[in-house]
């Protein structure tokens, strides 16, 4: 798995097992875990996410989602497949574990709680929405999901990751901010974050033996651990480099994920 020759903070390291060629405009994409028991909805959300240049892993239950995230059976640094998840989008009403229960489990996990979780539901019930947001959901989408919903999430996520890099990595949730343009984050602050402590999301990715998101100085960690945030910041600075149609360059990789996760 060829490395991109990680040198500058803007280039992401190859800890993502792409197997694909980096595209000219920076290969790394946001990886979203989609959870929905409905086959139709999984297909739709998957397409929506891919079209907004996200890598997608779609699973049909909360249990499978936790398994994918490495959080079942609480073996802590257990069987982690090495794939960083940048966002989780889950249906609310599912048999077995509901999206709400999944949300709680994720937010209770020190390893995972930094990952933004978006809830989808066909019922536009305020109490439900409030409950989810209070539990730390990033956003709540009323189904049917449209392209504009996903695009909005994409923008928020890019921005939120930028915010997280400048925070101390606490487990704060991010309610959807209405206004700020991610263009407002000056490049320098994003790049400088490469040397700051890395919040828990990197723990998700690297799955080091200590699952707790203790801040560490970047010099004690290879730059690889931080570059997903650099990338996110870089990505947002450059604006949408992958807007419009996304032609996959790592089909095999995605298919493998699907095989592993589907039914």
């Amino acid at each position: 798995m060829a490395s991109n020759g990680l040198v500058s903070p803007q280039r992401r390291s190859s800890d993502q097992f792409d197997g694909g060629d980096p595209s000219p405009c920076g290969s790394e994409e946001v990886h979203v875990l989609a959870v929905d028991d409905s086959l139709v909805d999984r297909k739709v959300i998957e397409r929506l996410l891919k079209i907004t240049s996200c890598k997608v892993t779609a699973v049909d239950s909360g249990l499978r989602a936790l398994r994918f995230l490495g959080l079942d059976e609480e073996k802590t640094a257990g069987d982690f497949n090495g794939l960083k998840v940048d966002m989780i989008i889950t249906d609310y009403c599912m048999p077995g574990m509901t999206g709400y229960e999944l949300l709680k489990k994720i937010k209770e996990s020190s390893a995972l709680r930094e990952i933004p979780v978006v809830i989808m539901s066909s019922e536009n019930v305020l109490a439900r929405i409030d409950r989810c947001m209070e539990e730390g959901a990033e956003d709540f989408i009323v189904k049917p999901v449209k392209l504009s919903d996903v695009k909005r999430l994409r923008d928020c996520m890019t921005r939120d990751v930028g915010d997280r890099t400048s925070s101390d990595g606490g487990g704060t949730t991010h309610k959807r901010k209405l206004q700020e343009s991610f263009h407002e984050s000056p490049p320098s602050s994003i790049v400088s974050c490469a040397s700051s402590s890395v919040p828990a999301a990197s723990t998700t990715r690297s799955r080091s033996p200590s699952p707790s998101p203790s801040p560490s100085v970047s010099s004690s960690k290879p730059v690889t651990a931080t570059t997903d945030f650099d990338f996110m910041g870089f990505f947002s600075i450059r604006g949408k480099s992958n807007n419009g149609r996304h032609v996959e360059d790592s089909d095999q990789h995605l298919n493998r994920l699907k095989e592993e996760t589907v039914a």
Partner: protein, 164 residues
């Protein structure tokens, strides 16, 4: 196979235009009748050269899903006592997937169906089940027509117009 790459036999422009017009008229009528709603257009927008059959694929999944759910509902309604919660769960599923593909009439029928499940009205449920079955059959038929028209347009060298 790539639909938008078109076949090499380009029909005269009038024919393509005519096919396109018929297509637009047909799709418009489906919207007017309430068979489809805007979500269907949303799905069509997700189709492109890399995923030229996306809408057809989603529709196919829908019918596989709805057939299964309808069978489940029928079976549940035949049992004694009827497990209305189970029927409701299936109707809820169908409501969700029909909403996701823009099948408005099916979705609305599901809403009514659910209220009969809630009041545990056996007869109401039976009637709704029949209506849902019929409506899905109608939808399948119309979508097949629609997709066939799309194929004809592409086959004639044109591109499928996207509704706004």
């Amino acid at each position: 196979m790539p639909r938008f790459h078109g076949q090499s036999n380009h029909a005269p422009v009038d024919i393509v235009n005519q096919l396109q017009k018929q297509y637009v008229d047909y799709l418009t009528s489906l919207f007017h009748e309430g068979v489809l709603d805007d979500q269907f257009t949303q799905l069509q927008k997700l189709q492109d050269e890399s995923n030229p059959d996306f809408t057809v694929e989603v529709a196919t999944l829908f019918f596989v899903d709805s057939d299964k759910l309808i069978n489940n509902m029928a079976a549940a309604l035949e049992r004694s006592p009827v497990d209305f919660k189970q029927v409701d769960a299936d109707v809820h599923q169908l409501k969700g997937s029909s909403s996701s593909i823009g099948a408005m009439r099916v979705k609305n029928l599901c809403i009514t169906f659910r209220s009969f499940c809630e009041t545990q009205s056996y007869e109401g449920c039976l009637i709704c089940l029949q209506q849902v079955k019929n409506e899905c059959a109608v939808l399948k038929d119309k979508l097949q027509n629609l997709f066939r028209m799309e194929q004809q347009i592409v086959g004639a060298g044109g591109s499928v117009p996207l509704m706004d």
